[in-house]
Symmetry: C2
Subunit: 221 residues, 2 copies
DNA sequence: GGGGCCGTCAAACGATCGTTTGTTGCAAAT
DNA sequence: ATTTGCAACAAACGATCGTTTGACGGCCCC
C-alpha cells in the first residue's frame, strides 16, 4: 500500500489521545487540523475526527453545518491570522526607500514560519500543502477572493524593488519562490529536522536558507 | 464546499467519456491517472474509474489485485521512464570538465517536462504533486527504495560543480529547487498557460525560467 | 469434441461513509 | 414554576465504498 498510513492490527483505525481542552468547536477544529494533515480531507472521517476530539459524532454537523464547512473553517481560522501578520509586516516597510529585498521576503515568509510555532499550527502548513496539490478550482477561488489582495500588495512591492524585471518575469519568479516556500514548510524532501536542534532553531535555519535562496533567485539579471 | 470538484445536478458523479483504445490494463491505468489527478486517491472511486475506462468494476481487482496496487503501478509506470531519461541525460555529462550547472539542471528538469509532453503524462505530475503533499512515509520509502539512487547520483554531480558549498548547504538548496520544480510542474500558482501559446512553448518557457531561477539560487555565494 | 484457462460480467458482500432524527439534561428567560 | 432554547447524545438513515463471488463465453491444446 502506498498511500493510506498504517492501520493497527487490532481495532479499525487509530484513535489519537482525546484532547479535552477548550470548547467543542475548538476541539473539533484542532482534531480536524491534525487528521486532515495526516490523512487528507477525504481520508479523515468524521468518526475518527470526533473520536479524537472527544465529542459526539453529530457535533460537527451541529456546529459547522457539514464536513465541507468544517474544512472551510479550518482554512479561514489560520489564513486570517497569517495574512494579518503578513500585511502588518508589509505595512512597516512598503514604499520606504531603504527597504531591501530581504526585508520584503522576511515579511512574506516569517509569518508562515511563525504560524508553525504554536502547538498545532505546523500541521496546518501540511494541510495547506495538501490543498495546493489538490489543485481544486473552488479552493483557488476561495483563496483569491479572501486573500488575493495580500498577494497583490506584495507583488506591487516586489515590482518596486525589482524594476528591471518585466511583469511576466516577476510573476514567474514569485511563483517559484512560493513553490520553494510551500515545499520547505511542508517538510517533504531530504531535509529533516535533526534531533539535536530545537524546533525553533530548525525554523530559523529554514527561514535563512529560504530567504537567501529566494533573494538570489529573484534578483539575478 | 472547498475541495470536492463539482457534482452535476443530474446523476451522482461525472462520467468522463469512455476511452476505448488499448488493452484493459492500459485503459485502467489511463483513467486512474486522470481521476487520481482530479480527485485524489481517496476521492476517485473504483466505480468512477472503471466507468471512465469503459471496463467492468471487477477488472481492477482482477488485473492489479487491489486499489492500492493500482496506485503503485500508476507511479511505477511513469517514474521508471522518468528516471531512465534522467540517468541517460546525466550519464552524458557526469564528470566531464566542461559540464556547467545549466547542463546538469537541464538533465534533471528536462525529463520531467518531457513527461508532460505525451498525452496524459502531464496529469501524472499532478498525481505526483498530490502524493508529495500527502506526506506519507510509505510513499517516501517507496521512492527512496526504487529511485533513491538517481537522486544520489545527481547530488554527487551537484557537489562536484558546487565545491564551495557544505554538504548541508547543498542539500538545502537542492531541496528548494525540487520544491520550485514540483510547484511549477503541477501548475498551481499565478502562472497559467495563456491561450495564445502552445503547450510546447509553455513548457519551454517553464523550463527556461526554472533553470535560470535554480542556477541563481544554487550558485549564489 | 471435450477439458482447462482466461478475461469479462452482473450481482452481491459487509464495512464505512456523511448526515439526520428524536430525546435528554440543563440553564436562562418569562 | 413553566417555558424556551441550546448543546450533547445514541441510534438510525440511505448511499457509496473496496472487494469477492460465481456464472458465462471464447480460445487454445491435447
Amino acid at each position: 500500500m502506498l498511500k493510506r498510513s498504517f492501520e493497527p492490527a487490532c481495532g479499525r483505525w487509530m484513535v489519537p489521545p482525546v484532547n479535552s481542552s477548550g470548547s467543542t468547536k475548538e476541539r473539533i477544529l484542532g482534531a480536524a487540523e491534525l487528521l486532515f494533515a495526516q490523512r487528507g480531507f477525504d481520508g479523515a472521517s468524521l468518526r475518527q475526527l470526533t473520536t479524537a476530539a472527544g465529542v459526539n459524532l453529530a457535533a460537527v454537523n451541529y456546529h459547522f453545518g457539514s464536513k465541507d464547512k468544517l474544512v472551510e473553517e479550518v482554512f479561514r481560522r489560520r489564513l486570517d491570522a497569517l495574512n494579518e501578520r503578513r500585511l502588518a509586516a508589509l505595512a512597516k516597510i512598503a514604499g520606504a526607500p531603504e527597504t531591501t529585498l530581504e526585508n520584503l521576503l522576511e515579511a512574506f515568509i516569517r509569518p508562515a514560519l511563525d504560524l508553525s510555532h504554536d502547538d498545532s499550527g505546523a500541521l496546518f502548513m501540511r494541510v495547506l500543502a495538501r490543498a495546493f496539490a489538490e489543485h481544486d478550482d473552488t479552493l483557488r477561488q476561495f483563496l483569491s477572493a479572501n486573500y488575493g489582495h495580500v498577494m497583490r500588495q506584495f507583488t506591487a512591492e516586489f515590482a518596486r524593488l525589482l524594476p528591471q524585471l518585466s511583469k511576466e518575469e516577476l510573476y514567474w519568479r514569485i511563483d517559484l519562490v512560493t513553490g520553494a516556500l510551500t515545499h520547505a514548510m511542508s517538510g517533504f524532501g531530504m531535509i529533516q529536522r535533526k534531533s539535536d536542534v530545537s524546533e525553533h532553531t530548525h525554523r530559523e535555519q529554514t527561514a535563512q536558507h529560504l530567504i537567501r535562496f529566494a533573494v538570489a533567485g529573484l534578483s539575478h539579471p
